[in-house]
């Protein structure tokens, strides 16, 4: 996660990624697009590569940079990730709703104890006996 954020924290690297999403590009082609040296661009590509965002392949004298070519797999992965994110949010929503006593139910605003005692038939006695 840190590596990903680091890789994406830089405008040039995000731009390189965007260009490569459209189709593979050679490092020298990429280098033409930025006001920096070939070596500097190569370093940016190396950061993206370490973060698992692009792969580099040698083709003759060129180094080709590309993202995962499996577009369907990508779509599935992106939607799976979106689903995970929203499932997590829905779980947290449900817990928030459950935590708060419903004001429209009589007696629900009684002080809550830290340990649920819903299954204790002698709730009051036990509470007094154990805590006093």
């Amino acid at each position: 996660m840190d590596r990903l954020f680091h890789a994406l924290a830089d405008t040039t690297r995000r731009d390189i990624l965007r260009r490569c999403v459209r189709g593979e590009l050679s490092v020298s082609r990429l280098a033409e697009a930025y006001p920096m040296s070939f070596a500097a661009v190569q370093k940016h590509v190396a950061v993206l590569e370490r973060a698992g965002l692009v792969t580099k392949q040698r083709s003759g004298r060129e180094q080709l940079v590309r993202t995962d070519p499996d577009a369907v797999g990508r779509a599935r992965q992106a939607l799976d990730e979106l689903e995970s994110a929203w499932r997590g949010r829905v779980d947290r929503m449900a817990r928030l709703l459950a935590d708060e006593p419903r004001s429209d139910e009589p007696g629900s605003d009684e002080p809550r104890t830290s340990t649920p005692r819903a299954f204790d038939p002698d709730e009051k006695n036990t509470t007094e006996g154990s805590e006093r």
């Binding site: 990508r74 992106a78 419903r102």
Partner: protein, 161 residues
């Protein structure tokens, strides 16, 4: 579990999720409409959200940042496109730079939320879609949600305990 169904449309890059909550509709709406409530569920436990602006009117904005374990901050924004209180909300969700300025070169998703009364509780239908295929690819490549996945695992472990 609250999630009733999930549909993923690979062609239209759309996620549709239906969740049912045992709470009145107004109460579920408050999860979205009250910024203090929103920040308790938007970010994963390891990246809690802090909501700054919160204007749920068409054209209005919600701005927030998530704080990581090392104090690192990631900013995001919503731009509200449609609101029908307390039944529906539509917005675009995106990333922002350190000054809170929207990052144009980062992906956005469009989110639509609909709440209806259902069997004594509230049904929430959520649709989230990538605005372009390129953006979807970018987000997938970024693996932005890895941390969220991890937190879902933590929640599952908590619930199973």
């Amino acid at each position: 579990m609250s999630v009733t169904s999930v549909d993923k449309d690979l062609d239209n890059l759309t996620l549709t999720l239906i969740a049912d909550f045992a709470a009145p509709l107004e109460r579920v709406w408050r999860l979205w409409a009250d910024p203090r409530q929103l920040e308790r569920w938007w970010g994963p436990p390891s990246y809690p959200a802090t909501v700054e602006e919160h204007d749920l009117t068409p054209g209005g904005e919600v701005t927030y940042y998530m704080t990581g374990p090392e104090g690192d901050r990631y900013r995001g924004w919503w731009r509200i496109t449609s609101v029908t209180e307390p039944a529906s909300l539509e917005f675009t969700d995106g990333f922002a730079d350190d000054d809170g300025k929207p990052k144009d070169d980062m992906p956005t998703t469009s989110v639509r939320v609909r709440l209806t009364e259902h069997e004594g509780g509230t049904r929430m239908e959520l649709r989230s879609l990538f605005d372009t295929r390129e953006q979807m690819e970018q987000l997938a490549a970024m693996g932005m949600e890895e941390g969220l996945k991890e937190s879902v695992g933590q929640i599952d472990a908590l619930l199973a305990a």
